[in-house]
Amino acid sequence: MRLNTAAYYIREGLTNVRRNRAMTVASITSVTAALLILGLFLIIILNVDSMANQVESQLELKAFINDNYDMSKVTKVGEEIKAISGVKSITFESKKDALNNFKKQLGDKSYLVNGLENDNPMPQSFIVKVTDANMMKQVSEEIKKIDGVTQVSYGQDVVDKLLGIIKIIRIVGLFVILILFIISVVIISNTIKLGVFSRRREINIMKYIGATDWFIRWPFLVEGIVLGLVGSVLAIGILGFIYGYASDLVNNKLIIFTLLPAGVVIRQSLVYFLAIGSLIGALGSGISIKRFLNV
């Protein structure tokens, strides 16, 4: 493609954008609105992903060891646990440690366990971290098989439920994004269709004097991509502004999880947004030119 031909495509594309100002404004507004909602879900998904990471990094299971095992036997069990795939790290908690931790948890009621030091009822255990939250169940089954392990525990119900919810949110989010994506494509496609229609005489003449399909297509693709890009830039601007406020608010009040900082979210989703914006524009115009080119 010659440079002056590329310049021609861009010039004509921008002329299209200017020429039909009302439609341009209407379609940019609609695309911005659609991308705002799409962005909202994108941000929810990003946050859910980070939440999942936070959950995963906090996840650990406890393998209780037979009280009669001495240190050398315990070490052997530890090595067997370590060898299981999916195990990230293990820490030993002696009977004494367990009692101290329990005391700490009781806080000012720690007097309740006073005097137990000599006949410590707390079990010795390994605290096992796994590489992936979805491995919890499998790893715990493996550990249970080891001789000397009396019991394995983790917050089964909570973890499984949480992971389930995260999965649902992601599926719903992706579904909503897909629908809004299609809506945006249709909006742009309609705008371009009007542009193509108002220039049909010109297109007809171009075909008679031997213009290739791509020569005719490019200015409209440029127009669509410009509409999509402007829409996505506006959407991310607005979204960043609102999210900045919201995350400040939530992070000061919310307990369990922290929302990703606005800067991180915007930076992570900027590329998605620009890509989605141009893709929407290109698809939208591509669809409408295809039908009109068959002269």
Partner: protein, 228 residues
């Protein structure tokens, strides 16, 4: 060289526009396509431009069967066939110069070549002084000259004109035909469909006469018709 071999065209509404058309036009010929309205003149020109595809038969342009062209190849056929219409088909928001330059932009000619070539063609059609006018500021005859300039700026080997004088008064029509004849003398094959009996009769060129989709006459140095 153009060759129609057993060409028929039936439109979607079952109208048979032309049937079993056979003719050969050599390079450098000047041919009139005559016949009453609805005889199939435009259809033949559209088939040649590959705007329509024949229902049966083959059409050769320079030995190549254009009925078998792929969609992608059609623009390159059209770059070799300049075309002029009754209604000029100029772009109203482009100047005379820009209208002609556009045909070169489309084939991605060098800007330097465009700047040299457009004034040349403008002077050939006698419109050097109107380069910066817009089509609606020109008379019908002048607009048709612009459209002829646009059609030949690419130096096509064939020029097709579908009733180019249909909207023009007799004097202006003569000027246009003289211009086409001038272009023909420079080596371009010219095919012109027309109703203008006077012009056809005094030009003494080859005449292909159509009636109801059939060739009824094909004569060298012919006349429009024998009707009473």
């Amino acid at each position: 060289m153009i060759k129609f071999v057993g060409v028929s065209k039936k439109y979607k509404n079952d109208i048979i526009a032309v049937s079993n058309i056979n003719f050969t036009i050599d390079s450098g010929e000047f041919v009139f396509l005559v016949g009453p309205s609805g005889a199939g003149k435009s259809t033949i020109l559209k088939l040649l431009l590959r705007e329509e595809i024949p229902t049966t038969g083959s059409i050769f342009v320079d030995k190549k069967d254009i009925t078998k062209l792929k969609r992608k190849e059609v623009p390159y056929l059209r770059r070799n066939i300049g075309v002029v219409f009754q209604d000029f088909k100029l772009l109203p928001n482009k100047t005379v110069y820009e209208n002609i330059a556009f045909a070169l932009q489309i084939v991605e000619a060098e800007p330097k070549y465009i700047r040299r070539r457009v004034p040349m063609v403008l002077s050939l059609v006698g419109l050097s002084d109107r380069a910066n006018s817009y089509p609606q500021q020109l008379s019908g005859g002048e607009q048709q000259r612009v459209s002829i300039a646009r059609a030949i700026v690419n130096e096509p080997s064939i020029l097709v004109a579908d009733e180019p004088t249909g909207n023009l008064d007799p004097d202006t029509s003569w000027e246009i035909v003289k211009l086409l004849s001038e272009i023909n003398k420079r080596g371009t094959t010219v095919i012109m469909s027309t109703h203008a009996k006077d012009i056809v009769d005094s030009m003494k060129k080859r005449v292909i006469a159509l009636e109801k989709g059939n060739i009824v006459r094909d004569e060298m140095r012919g006349v429009y018709g024998y009707e009473a």
